[in-house]
């Protein structure tokens, strides 16, 4: 089921836990990391169908990860859902310029995140 494998990059453990639960209920296989450097390493070594990426994380921040992902030919088409508490227009603009596939602002609804990821991965949403 590698096409349903997601990486959730989020340093807030409670948010990561709730997101993982919801995404698993929707049929995804979810891996979580809380640190930017580790996230980048895993993205370069493993295959994921999509990434949920928080911007404000320790280590390499979300913008830098996004830049590195888009600069890597192997990852250039990877769907990236940017997740951030900083919903300011300029952050959104920067994320879009750097090639974010979509942008969700905290506090988001679970359904919105699931819907976006299902759209990226071409799967129908499973009933939970």
């Amino acid at each position: 089921m590698s096409d349903r494998r997601l990486l959730v990059v989020e340093d807030e453990s409670n948010i990561a836990e709730a997101l993982s639960y919801v995404l698993r209920r929707a049929g995804f296989v979810v891996e979580t990391v809380s640190d930017g450097d580790l996230a980048l390493q895993r993205l370069q070594r493993e295959h994921f169908a999509a990434v949920v990426l928080d911007i404000m994380i320790p280590g390499t921040n979300g913008f830098e990860i996004l830049r590195a992902v888009r600069a890597d030919p192997a990852l250039a088409d990877l769907p990236v859902l940017v997740l951030t508490a900083r919903g300011q227009a300029k952050d959104r603009q920067l994320a879009e310029e750097l090639g974010a596939s979509a942008f969700v602002t905290k506090p988001f609804s679970n359904a919105e995140v699931v819907e976006r990821l299902c759209a990226f991965t071409g799967c129908s949403q499973q009933e939970s």
Binding site: E17, A18, Y21, A85, K106, N110
Partner: protein, 491 residues
């Protein structure tokens, strides 16, 4: 722009008093047609004739002097450079006419403009704070993070019918813990707004003080008199500071704290404190009910400046200092040694020697820190000094920082064609601890270029070849210049 306000003011005051030209001319001992020329600014008027006209109008002479209004004209002209306000105002030169004919309205506009600037600055400061305050930014981030966790967990509990009791307990515990942290963050925010008494000071307090000082032409006879009276009681062999402790016993201020200051500054600070008793009445009379000093911040700034003035007048008595200054050709090193004051104190005192009938060369004075922040300024009527840190980088007040302790000088021509001689020196205000950056301030004096031969600092400097084209504030300067940082507002 016409330089003459006097004629317009005479006409306005005459009409206000219901006097015909013939009557005022008779009182002043001139022909009505000559008065008519004066009123239309076709003839210059000064000296004894201006005194007689003032007397004929029943006003004090200084009411007619154009220089006290120059600040208003300059500021009103500045308003016309503000594209938001001045659309359709017409020629900036009309400011002279407005001030001359309707001085009350001109002052009202000035006060409105200053109030508008104050509010602008306050709004910008508050907006800046909301956008950039690290505590607010971090708190809002935390609020959003906790709300996100609570919302995600609550949605799971609400929508997932198949939620196991274990998972249910886990998400309830997430809600509880994030709700607890959210409360703490909210409490912190609430405390921040409770305790953060945002004091909106007057951004233009310094301008009001400028206006006040310029209105007095940098000269305060009442304070000179207080200082002179005390000096008369100082015996020939007395040290002035010690004598003052005896003559005006009061709080000279703490010795220990001031010990970090250089000797001259310490002495000056103590004399300034001691002057607070003998000069109090004179300072209060000048500041308390002064309409130009519209708020407490401006009054306090002005009072502090006046006590410094009184201290300087005491340590550098008027006649003695003027005589010494003229005999050494305004050499600040000679003067500071002779009167045992700092370079800056001597420079500032030079800019106050404006007693009618016994005045020294008139100087503008400006003090800046290395970032360009102007910490003290006494403009000349036709030499507007920059108010904020956006001055012309070509002024020697800035280049003096490159060679601290050395006098830097130049002739400069403003876009108006006015030429001045500038000289500046960066001095160490306070000694710095080893390894720390030096705390330098640059002190600049300027006088009209044609007077430069009276100043020793200009010796050997050839006026035409040393003439630099400069401006005051970049956005108000029309020059095509390699140093430009901002587009000009008027082209």
């Amino acid at each position: 722009m016409s330089r003459d306000l006097v004629g317009l003011k005479i006409r306005a005051l005459r009409k206000e008093r219901g006097l015909l030209q013939g009557e005022l001319a008779r009182r002043a001992g001139i022909s009505p047609s000559y008065l008519n020329l004066i009123e239309r600014n076709k003839r210059a008027v000064a000296g004894g004739l201006l005194d007689r006209i003032a007397e004929g109008l029943g006003v004090q002479r200084h009411l007619l002097d154009e220089e006290s209004d120059r600040y208003i004209v300059d500021t009103l002209s500045e308003i016309t450079a503000d594209p938001l306000l001045a659309e359709g105002v017409g020629h900036p030169g009309a400011a002279v006419e407005l001030v001359g004919r309707y001085p009350g309205w001109a002052k009202l506009m000035l006060r409105l403009y200053q109030a508008y600037q104050d509010r602008n600055q306050a709004v910008m400061a508050l907006a800046d704070r909301l956008n950039r305050d690290p505590f607010l930014g971090e708190s809002i981030h935390r609020v959003l993070t906790h709300v996100t966790a609570i919302r995600a967990a609550a949605e799971i509990i609400e929508t997932d019918d198949a939620l196991s009791p274990l998972d249910r307990g886990k998400f309830l515990s997430i809600i509880a813990s994030d709700a607890g942290r959210l409360s703490e963050t909210a409490q912190g925010l609430s405390n921040f707004f409770d305790s953060a008494q945002v004091r909106i000071g007057s951004a233009t307090a310094m301008e009001h003080v400028d206006s006040f000082i310029l209105g007095h032409q940098n000269h305060f006879p009442a304070l000179e008199e207080v200082a002179a009276e005390l000096r008369r009681k100082v015996r020939a062999h007395d040290e002035p500071e010690r004598a003052l402790e005896r003559l005006a016993p009061g709080d000279a201020g703490p010795r220990k704290i001031e010990n970090v200051l250089p000797l001259e500054s310490r002495r000056f600070a103590r004399v300034k404190n001691l002057m607070k008793l003998p000069a109090k009445d004179a300072v209060d009379a000048l500041t308390v009910k002064n309409p130009i000093l519209s708020d407490e911040a401006a009054k306090a700034l002005a009072a502090s400046a006046l006590y410094s003035y009184a201290a300087a007048a005491y340590l550098m008595p008027y006649e003695e200092f003027l005589e010494a200054a003229e005999s050494c050709r305004y050499d600040l090193d000679v003067l500071s040694q002779r009167f045992e004051v700092s370079y800056e104190q001597a420079a500032h005192r030079l800019a106050t020697l404006q007693r009618p009938g016994a005045s020294g060369l008139r100087f503008a004075f400006m003090r800046s820190d290395p970032s360009g922040y102007v910490t003290k300024r006494l403009p000349l009527p036709r030499l507007p000094l920059p108010r904020y840190g956006t001055a012309c980088p070509l002024w020697v007040v800035y280049s003096a920082f490159q060679t601290a302790g050395v006098t830097v000088r130049s002739f400069g021509e403003l876009p108006t064609g006015e030429q001045f001689f500038f000289f500046a020196r960066a001095v160490e205000k306070l000694p710095s601890p080893p390894g720390a950056p030096r705390r330098l301030l640059s002190i600049m004096l300027a006088c009209p270029a044609e007077e430069a031969q009276r100043v020793s600092a200009a010796d050997g400097l050839n006026r035409p070849s040393a003439m630099v084209s400069l401006g005051t504030v970049c956005r108000l300067c029309p020059r095509d210049c390699a140093h430009r940082q901002e587009a000009p507002l008027i082209t």
